[in-house]
């Protein structure tokens, strides 16, 4: 602020110089440099502080965006290797190792060979049935990558089980030949192999660059400088004895809680389900495996054997699929007695064939590829309709249709919902099933279109395709494939759900769990908490503010206001704790009484207010006169003034205070007295069972819901019609008589209100509507009602303080003008003060809203934290803030979950930001209208 006086332009008009007494009184007025300096410093500091604040807020926002950003980055398939392979045709199985350095191939003759993943060089060979290998071939084969176990059937009918895996060992550097060591060292230890980086599983270089073949395995140098050797490992158990001799055509296995389950189809069209029972001989320590099996016939359409047989993850369902799309489902929860559970047509079109069927991770959803290029995801869900034996039906939850070329091969990830598909035209695509997103696609060269085998590496970081002659490898750059805007905000059809829904379920006990990152339930929970707490807190706080600012004497106000503000000093964790551990159990006990208290307490207040009109004025005037006489006579000391107010208005205020203090217990005891009666009348004697829809009708619920409406209607009716009619009466009657009449009218109005509500409720119930399950419904101990109370308690002081300040800031001259015009204090408040202070009242509400939106501890402790989307006031919910508090500590840094939690934080930030901005805009508009004073 440059205080240098601008030179005043020489004015034409000459003002007469003020007669200044000559001499020492005249002073040169200059701003001392110290003041200027202080001024400038203060200005700089304030500017810096302001900019700093803005920068801090922006930084927080930017940080959130920065963490969230990778969620929405596009996925990529980057070519990693291409090599010739020394075998031809489709093998039975390929198995990639953890680090994508090698893969094992199982051939139909029982040979198992390991190849380098980057060069296709053969590393090792093993042979199944080594003892009696006389030209038998495998007639059926199954392998479960999660457990590394296989089961196979030979064409001589024998069943065999075993294990194929990759053993990791560390080789002492001395044992590593020099040339190999040099080669590995040259590749650089930092770049060697795959880095065990969980976040970005994709290595910078093509896989296994720093690999060497050593001892029939692959040697790598780890970043720590160790030499890690991976070797193929095959274990095989003795052949199993099984019932019957018909050759096995199809075979699948699953790992149930009670052991391994095998399902196989024999050429005679019978489905066999067997549980393996291991027995350990205590003397020889030998383990013998026996099968405990059952079987049932499969209806063979036109005598054709099915092409696919799949056994679900728990071993309780067998799917048998024909290539024309026919699917038969068998319930095998009791392996000894498989039961047909239903049939489904996977394909409607007659000419379209099923080309491949695989399980997604978790072995619950079937991915079915067909000759039209579609991949459909089917899973069983309980829809409630009881047409199937186990109450479940197979639903087509997703369809991935990216191409017109037939699907040739599908490969499902073992740990996520990734699904790779190879098409007949040589395209290879990778999908995220839950969100139905095509993440990336590549095309194979024209000469090598026919993909025989497609495999996803165990860590989902590489995709391999084997054609007749070549091997292709791609690196998958998809750190957060589950996330898309639709998955976050839209309804998503999750596995096992009968329809698309908004669900938040970020983790679960099992690894193959489908994470559900629907933010909607959390946003909903936040809004629900805010809504109910404002519903409870805002009217109380605003009315209290109006009452304090307009009706209390300054002296009383000086006590009341700080007292209410003191409520804000209660830490929210204490409030939450009280809510969860004290209030919730109590409310559960006295719910009908509590609901009644909402009606009886205001009733008691109004009743006492009306009743005190009778005689109060005269009485207080009389007492006042008497006291005044005492006071003038000097009989009362000054300090008695506060207790014994002399002015009759102040005395009346005491009366009102006393009335209010009395009204609360009166209302409450009325509620307690009425509670059981009302419970019997409306809620069939047990409100919990009634809310749960076990007993009673919708009458009570309608009554509850219509009561406020009825109050509103009666109040409006009263003001519009009855009041004008009463006005002439009021003029002619004496005050006492009118007060009596008023009381009588009040009682009648209350009765009418109740009557109206019950009439409407009866009518609506008679129509057969029952609102239970919407705004009221099954009672959960920690629910929105509790949160509404306690969070209402938390926001009352905030709203109250700001609102009271806003009301007090209304110029006294306006109040005086209104009162001088003959308005009652209430009219003044309602017609002048409140409209004038509207912007302030509004911002008080918004501040309360902001607090409610961001509040964490109370909802965390008292809301039950169930991410449901249910307006039911008696049900729990989970807010964005509570969700962050609960889950962030256990989220792995930089994982999808972690970033989604940051997204929730960003959403919260945006929510409050939008609320505040809108509030500010509206507030300014109000202010422009009202505050041109």
């Amino acid at each position: 602020m440059e205080t240098d006086c601008p030179k005043r332009p020489p004015s034409k008009v000459r003002f007469p110089e003020r007669a200044v007494p000559a001499g020492p009184r005249r002073r040169q007025r200059v701003t001392p440099p110290r003041v200027r300096w202080a001024d400038r410093t203060a200005r700089t500091l304030i500017t810096l502080g302001g900019l700093g604040t803005i920068a801090a807020v922006l930084l927080v926002g930017l940080f959130l965006v920065w963490v969230v950003w990778p969620l929405f980055q596009p996925e990529r398939l980057a070519p990693a290797a291409r090599a010739a392979i020394p075998f031809f045709g489709a093998p039975l199985q390929t198995i990639v190792d953890e680090r994508s350095t090698m893969f094992a191939v199982v051939f139909g003759d029982g040979r198992i060979e390991a190849y380098r993943a980057d060069t296709g060089e053969r590393v090792a060979t093993e042979q199944l049935f080594e003892g009696g290998s006389n030209g038998e071939r495998l007639s059926a084969w199954t392998f479960s990558p999660r457990h590394g176990t296989f089961a196979c059937a030979r064409d001589d009918g024998q069943l065999c089980m075993g294990r194929i895996g990759f053993a990791t060992s560390f080789v002492p550097p001395k044992q590593v030949p020099r040339d190999v060591r040099l080669k590995l060292d040259a590749a650089g230890s930092g770049a060697s192999g795959l880095r065990p980086d969980r976040v970005r599983p994709a290595p910078r270089k093509p896989p296994s660059e720093a690999c060497a073949v050593f001892r029939s395995g692959i040697l790598q140098k780890t970043p720590e400088g160790q030499y890690r050797l991976q070797q193929l490992q095959v274990e095989q158990q003795a052949p199993l004895r099984r019932k019957g001799q018909a050759p096995v055509v199809l075979l699948d296995q699953a790992e149930s809680a009670r052991g391994r389950v095998l399902a196989y189809l024999t050429a005679d069209g019978r489905l066999h389900v067997a549980r393996t029972v291991e027995r350990k001989n205590l003397l020889t320590a030998r383990i013998t495996v026996r099968l405990r099996e059952g079987s049932c016939p499969v209806t063979l359409p036109r005598g054709q054997l099915p092409e696919y047989l799949l056994l679900s993850g728990l071993g309780d369902t067998v799917y048998v699929v024909w290539s024309d799309g026919r699917l038969q489902r068998f319930d095998t929860s009791q392996p000894q007695r498989p039961v047909r559970a239903g049939t489904t047509d996977l394909i409607e079109e007659p000419s379209v064939r099923v080309t491949t069927v695989v399980f997604l991770a978790g072995r619950t959803s079937l991915a079915v590829g067909d000759s039209l290029g579609r991949v459909r995801i089917w899973f069983p869900a309980k829809t409630g309709q009881r047409d199937a034996a186990d109450g479940a039906v197979l639903l087509c939850g997703h369809q991935l249709w990216a191409s017109r070329a037939a699907v040739r091969r599908l490969a499902a990830s073992t740990r996520s919902r990734l699904l790779a598909a190879a098409y007949a035209d040589g395209a290879v695509r990778i999908f995220q099933v839950t969100t139905e997103r095509e993440l990336a696609s590549v095309s194979l060269p024209r000469s090598e279109r026919a993909v025989n085998t497609l495999m996803l590496s165990p860590r989902d970081d590489h995709l391999f395709a084997l054609t007749n002659r070549e091997l292709f490898a791609w690196r998958i750059d998809a750190p957060h494939p589950e996330i898309s805007v639709r998955a976050l905000l839209g309804r998503v059809w999750y596995e096992g759900y009968p329809e698309p829904e908004h669900v938040w379920q970020s983790s679960s006990g099992t690894d193959d769990f489908e994470p559900k990152y629907g933010l909607m339930p959390l946003i909903f929970g936040t809004l629900k908490a805010t809504f109910y707490s404002l519903l409870f807190g805002a009217p109380l706080a605003l009315l209290a503010a109006v009452y304090t600012s307009e009706f209390l004497t300054p002296r009383t106000k000086a006590i009341v206001k700080p007292t209410i503000e003191m409520m804000a000093s209660l830490p929210s964790v204490v409030l939450g704790f009280l809510a969860a551990l004290v209030l919730a159990p109590v409310v559960e006990e006295v719910l009908p009484e509590l609901l009644l208290a909402f009606a009886t307490v205001p009733f008691a207040y109004l009743f006492l207010a009306k009743a005190s009109q009778i005689g109060c004025r005269e009485l207080s005037a009389g007492i006042g006169r008497h006291l005044q006489r005492l006071r003038s006579a000097g009989a009362l000391k000054r300090w008695a003034d506060w207790f014994i107010p002399l002015r009759s208005t102040a005395l009346r205020e005491r009366w009102h205070t006393a009335g209010m203090i009395l009204a609360l217990p009166l209302g409450l005891s009325l509620a307690v007295w009425l509670g059981p009666r009302v419970e019997r009348w409306l809620f069939a004697g047990d409100i919990m069972a009634w809310l749960d829809r076990q007993t009673g009708s919708g009458l009570g619920a309608w009554f509850l819901l219509l009561m406020p409406l009825s109050v509103l209607m009666v109040a409006i009716g009263f003001h519009l019609w009855l009041r004008p009619a009463l006005r002439p009466v009021a003029a002619s009657w004496s005050r006492q008589a009118f007060a009596l009449l008023d009381l009588a009218i009040f009682l009648v109005v209350c009765a009418v209100t109740v009557g109206l509500a019950s009439c409407l409720a009866t009518g609506l119930t008679a129509l057969g509507w029952d609102p239970r399950g919407t705004v009221v419904g099954t009672y959960v101990q920690r629910n929105a009602l509790i949160v509404g109370f306690v969070m209402g308690f938390a926001i009352i002081p905030i709203i109250y303080t700001v609102a009271e300040d806003a009301l007090s800031a209304v110029p006294a001259s306006l109040r005086a003008a209104s009162l001088a015009a003959g308005a009652t204090p209430w009219q003044t408040a309602a017609r002048v003060v409140v409209p004038t202070a509207m912007s302030g009242l509004f911002s008080s509400l918004m501040i309360g809203l902001g607090r409610a939106v961001g509040e964490t501890m109370i909802v965390l402790m008292a809301a039950g934290n169930t991410p449901l989307m249910d307006w039911n006031i008696f049900n729990g919910f989970r807010t964005l803030s509570a969700n962050i508090a609960v889950e962030l500590p256990e989220a792995v840094k930089d994982s999808t979950h972690y970033r989604v939690l940051f997204l929730a934080a960003l959403t919260l930030f945006a929510l409050t930001f939008v609320v505040n901005t809108v509030a500010e805009v509206i507030r300014l508009r109000f202010r422009k209208r009202a505050f041109q004073l």
């Binding site: 005037a621 009759s648 004008p724 003008a817 003959g822 017609r831």
Partner: protein, 311 residues
């Protein structure tokens, strides 16, 4: 013209300090600040006599309001000393006096606006048509409905001009649009504002200029058709033209309403009022017909004030 002096004896209800005679003024109103200085000067210049000089002509008028030995304290500080003052019906009574002498305080007591101030204590009585307005069982709301008040500072409500004017009717529950707009027009015409605002009745009253706002407040005050109109320096914010309009208005309203007007403008007082009361330091000094006060004041203090020697 009788030169008879009427003295009002004060029944000593209050302690002795109420008696103005034995109270050094500096001690009563003593406080730092320029006003204090001014008073001190005034004290030197104009000695106060103990009793108010009330001209006989005033006492002969039928009066609507009687202020009887009225004293008022703001907390420990006394602002009005034993004021006795009848206010004639249907006439314009002007209150003049230097700043801070209690004119506003007195006029606010007439419709009990001082009730709003918590620390106020009063003694004595004010009667409206013979009934005490200070009695405990008086319905203050009803009392105020019988009076219209215009304050020193314009204070229109943040509502439309129309709503501002009809506010007294609104709070009485009047909903008939026709009645409302009739009253609105009549009041605005009376307040000499109609021509200026008739096309923008829906606009906010706060958009008006200060002078217009003051006339709006006057319109609001007369919309309720009160018996008494209390004007506390209604023209202090107005230019000469608006002032002239309001003075015209007062002339028009004379007879219909009893008007009490506080003013610092001697010319205005002499132009508009029938009676003038001169107050000084919380006391009524001289009260009589306007032309007498202005032409032949009986007390030297009054003369000193009117001729502008102080104040």
């Amino acid at each position: 013209m009788s030169l008879q002096t009427t003295s009002v004896d004060s029944p000593s209800l209050s302690p002795a300090k109420d008696s103005p005679a034995d109270q050094p003024h500096g001690a009563v109103l003593g406080g730092p600040g320029p006003q204090c200085e001014a008073r001190q000067e005034a004290d030197d210049a104009v000695p106060l006599s103990a009793r108010a000089e009330i001209h006989e002509k005033v006492r002969n008028e039928p009066c609507i309001l009687e202020i009887e030995s009225f004293s008022l304290w703001y907390g420990p500080k006394q602002a009005l000393f034993n004021v006795t003052m009848p206010i004639p019906e249907g006439k314009v009574t002007a209150l003049i006096g230097p700043s801070g002498c209690g004119k506003s305080t007195l006029i606010r007591c007439i419709n009990r606006m001082n009730d709003l101030i918590d620390s106020v204590r009063t003694e004595g009585d004010i009667r409206l048509r013979g009934n005490s307005i200070l009695a405990p069982d008086v319905d203050v709301i009803q009392l105020r409905k019988r009076m219209g008040m215009v304050f020193q500072k314009p204070n229109p409500f943040p509502m439309s001009i129309f709503e501002n004017v009809v506010y007294p009717l609104r709070i009485d529950g009047e909903r008939n649009r026709r009645v409302l707009s009739e009253v609105c027009e009549r009041s605005l015409r009376d307040a000499a504002l109609w021509e200026e605002v008739k096309d923008r009745l829906k606009e906010s009253g706060l958009r008006l200029s200060g002078g217009q706002q003051q006339r709006l407040c006057i319109a609001r005050a007369i919309a309720g058709q009160p018996e008494v109109l209390l004007l506390d320096e209604p023209c202090s914010a107005l230019d000469p033209i608006a002032t002239a309009k309001i003075e015209d208005l007062i002339h028009q309203l004379r007879g219909e309403y009893t008007i009490v007007i506080v003013t610092h403008n001697m010319q205005q007082a002499s132009r508009v009022s029938d009676y003038t009361a001169f107050m000084y330091l919380g006391r009524l000094v001289e009260y009589g017909p306007t032309e007498e006060i202005f032409t032949r004041p009986r007390l030297s203090e009054t003369e000193a004030y009117i001729t502008g020697r102080f104040g």
